[in-house]
Symmetry: C2
Subunit: 125 residues, 2 copies
Amino acid sequence: MTDSTLRAAGAPIGACCPPIVTAALSEQDAEIMAAMFKALADPVRLRLLSRVASHPNGEACVCDIADVGVSQPTVSHHLKKLREAGLLTSERRGTWVYYRPAPGVLASLGAFLADTEKRGESEVP
Amino acid sequence: MTDSTLRAAGAPIGACCPPIVTAALSEQDAEIMAAMFKALADPVRLRLLSRVASHPNGEACVCDIADVGVSQPTVSHHLKKLREAGLLTSERRGTWVYYRPAPGVLASLGAFLADTEKRGESEVP
């Protein structure tokens, strides 16, 4: 996801850039965001994402969060899907791969949803 | 989606209630949110949602937003999916069904994502 795409989603990028809100969502931005929402469209993945973000240091490996009721290979599979969608980043350290939320991406998706709701509200007569 | 579920997602409910943030996402809340993200996991639906929210009065019927490159029956199908997921409400007036964002729902999903990102960031040493 590029900075311009993130800005199109109504999100602040870095400390210097104000949010830019676009009334109409472009086809390209819609494709990118739909792929991310698809990765979020699974209850186990949502719980894993929440667990990773809540873990000390804001990162976790499979060994830290394997208690969500599915097997460790399944946890690894879901974390990989979240990484491939650009929602998590990963770093291998020794035996384990550590995951953390990709900076700015969840906030940008959240800002798009909040902005969409706000636009609807602000137009109510 | 109940008020308690929305609050569990880290969202403000109404004017009186502060956001309540939970570190661990429950299985039930994850199921509810995953179904909503599934409805958002389609680029045409995202563009239609954006169009509905951007339309004058914050509502639109199929007749208003049928120019996203798919047939009118397909637009109707996608709007119905968004309504079934709880993201849009609908009201029939005469010939047409008018859609608008369901109050608080997109903002709640957005707050969950923003909060998840924030938790990850705040734990970085």
